[in-house]
Symmetry: C2
Subunit: 339 residues, 2 copies
DNA sequence: GACCCTAGAGTGAACGTTCACATGATGTCA
DNA sequence: TGACATCATGTGAACGTTCACTCTAGGGTC
């Protein structure tokens, strides 16, 4: 047998109270740093807590306070490094603030992921951080309305009543990319987008499309869409170039697709960046190991995560912003070898 | 105002009971699919539940059942793609089984991460999945003992009483790598390890070290250690080669370091794989975009995650294995361009 | 008709906390 | 000395469930 037989009974606040010869409430006051406890009593209680290894049951506490110091994270795919980094940042910020994270992945095939969000609420989370999903703005609005829930969205800069959005300034980002590409003498730009773009208002696609039209004067912007994996990126790039061989620059939805595009161009015997320039989004570390290293629109995932947590806290304290709130992040183009 | 003014009062089981004209217990029986409820009553209650949008409060339920259908994940770093994939797999398995995940990162500088695990317990998790950490086996054992907690560890194949370990069969993996390298005519192998290896029993290091000695007959195996980032990998590889220029193969702790090593070799003017072979671990997707693509020891993160969840379930049902349990995963060497 | 069995439903208590209020002791001021 | 404020602590109820009982009505068996 082990040193302590672990009678599977975690000590409760009452055990502490009895051992210290006080009432539960006094112990509770010590736990919440209430001022009106005599120093000697406090010391005695703290000693008992230490001895017993007592830790307050956060569920019981949450049941009465209606605050769990926990929030939910709903992500489309944690395997996407940009989201993983954001999660990591959220986790760091949360820990700092005494919060915990319940992480869920949304089913990418579920058009209305609202059910997932509601399940999170039954777990008692104080709020939800949502990564870009198929869930429509109106669905989100009514979700917030009928649940009185704090909702922060990262990655989609839409103004939705009751929701705080934190996102890259897509228009400025698109402009920065196109300025750079035209400076490099590129004249005809194709897009490799995330397959979900036809399904909801995709700000990145719209920003790029519009900026390309304005900058290069292309009448029709070539686009291919696929789930953002390396191989899909490769195939989509090859389709793009087969349909329009004059393309001399590709902007991809993210770095993963961009890497696939590099592969595709290589397979077609095109030189990067001489024959064709390639730009990704996110700035994941692996972009630096390709040959040549990938030019990319960096997303400050840690910064955004920190801002998301801060927004969540103020939302919890002051309620959801009635008008909706949008925090745009300035673009930061990391110019490396593919342009 | 919104359609439903959301008086911030989520309906409770009592609201349902009153509206359906039954007692709470009957509603509870419907929720838990208890057989002894009259079909008509059941139908009526289900209708009210639907109408009200009632969802049972899982915290209240957990408080009495002592089962939250939630488990904790303690990871060193979610930004590591292998861990991110494992998290994703855990999440998928958990969702399938009606469970949820609370994710925490362990502070890499905290030698005894036990505090983090205890905090998870106060959140009411039914068990904890731990990624390789600095926490020592004896600490884990006494943690499990004194808390009666289910603990599954992924990535460290140590036999610890009360703990289920799921890990790559490191010895077989090392042998597979060395067989392959010697077949390719490599004679002198250097190691690029994770900086934490001196601090605890590092099975990967030990397996490689031993196998290299046995296979190549090297008297002393050159090693460099660093935190596994690309740039650290590059620098460590350069140090390794500066100290021992005869090295013709490098085995890295993971793919990220291996990519850094490729960089370092490139900087030194060495050809990969002709002058020097490089092998990584994990099999992350980005290993395929390097030039040449990286040879790597694949880790089936999804499979391991699934096994971890399964182990967790049986542990919850039957209690921790007294003896400790080790599930070794067979090695799978993905031979690509760097060897 | 007395007996037991069973299906269907309800009741009080418990889970481990905190909240709102009550209590008693001590101190302060006129 | 009385009135009142303040400090330190205690008490009952509540949070939203489930568990272990109890209760009732109806039916079958002998």
């Amino acid at each position: 047998m082990a040193p302590r037989p672990s009678d599977t009974h975690r000590p409760t606040i009452i055990d502490v109270a009895e051992l210290a010869g006080v009432s539960r409430q006094t112990v509770s006051r010590v736990l919440s740093d209430h001022p009106r406890v005599a120093p000697t009593t406090r010391a005695r209680i703290e000693e008992v807590i230490e001895d017993l290894g007592f830790r307050p049951n956060r569920m019981a506490r949450a049941l009465v306070t209606k605050t769990s110091l926990t929030f939910g994270v709903a992500s489309v795919d944690m395997r996407n490094l940009h989201f993983a980094e954001t999660c990591s940042g959220l986790q760091a910020a949360a820990r700092e603030g005494g919060y915990h994270l319940v992480v869920t992945e949304l089913d990418p095939d579920d058009d209305r992921g609202i059910g997932t969000l509601e399940t999170l609420l039954t777990l008692g989370v104080d709020g939800i951080v949502l990564f870009p999903s198929m869930v429509s703005g109106t669905d989100l609005e009514s979700f917030v309305n009928s649940n009185g829930c704090c909702l922060v969205m990262i990655g989609r800069g839409a103004k939705i009543p009751g929701v705080v959005s934190i996102a890259l300034d897509e228009l400025a980002a698109a402009q920065a990319i196109l300025n750079h590409l035209t400076e490099k003498g590129k004249r005809r730009v194709g897009l490799l987008m995330n397959e979900m773009f036809p399904r909801f208002i995709h700000t990145r696609y719209e920003a790029l499309h519009r900026t390309i039209e304005e900058t290069t004067g292309q009448s029709k912007v070539p686009v291919e869409a696929a789930r953002p994996t390396i191989d899909n990126g490769r195939q989509a790039a090859m389709r793009l170039l087969a349909a329009d061989p004059d393309i001399d620059a590709i902007v991809a939805f993210n770095d993963t697709m961009a890497m696939g595009a590099m592969r595709g161009c290589h397979d077609l015997g095109l030189r990067v960046p001489e024959d064709i320039a390639i730009v990704g989004y996110d700035g994941i570390p692996y972009g630096e190991v390709t040959l040549p290293p990938l030019t990319t629109m960096v997303q400050d995932s840690f910064g955004m995560a920190g801002a998301a947590f801060k927004a969540m806290l103020t939302c919890i304290k002051e309620g959801s912003p009635l008008e909706g709130e949008v925090h745009l992040w300035p673009p930061q183009l990391l110019i490396r070898g593919t342009t």
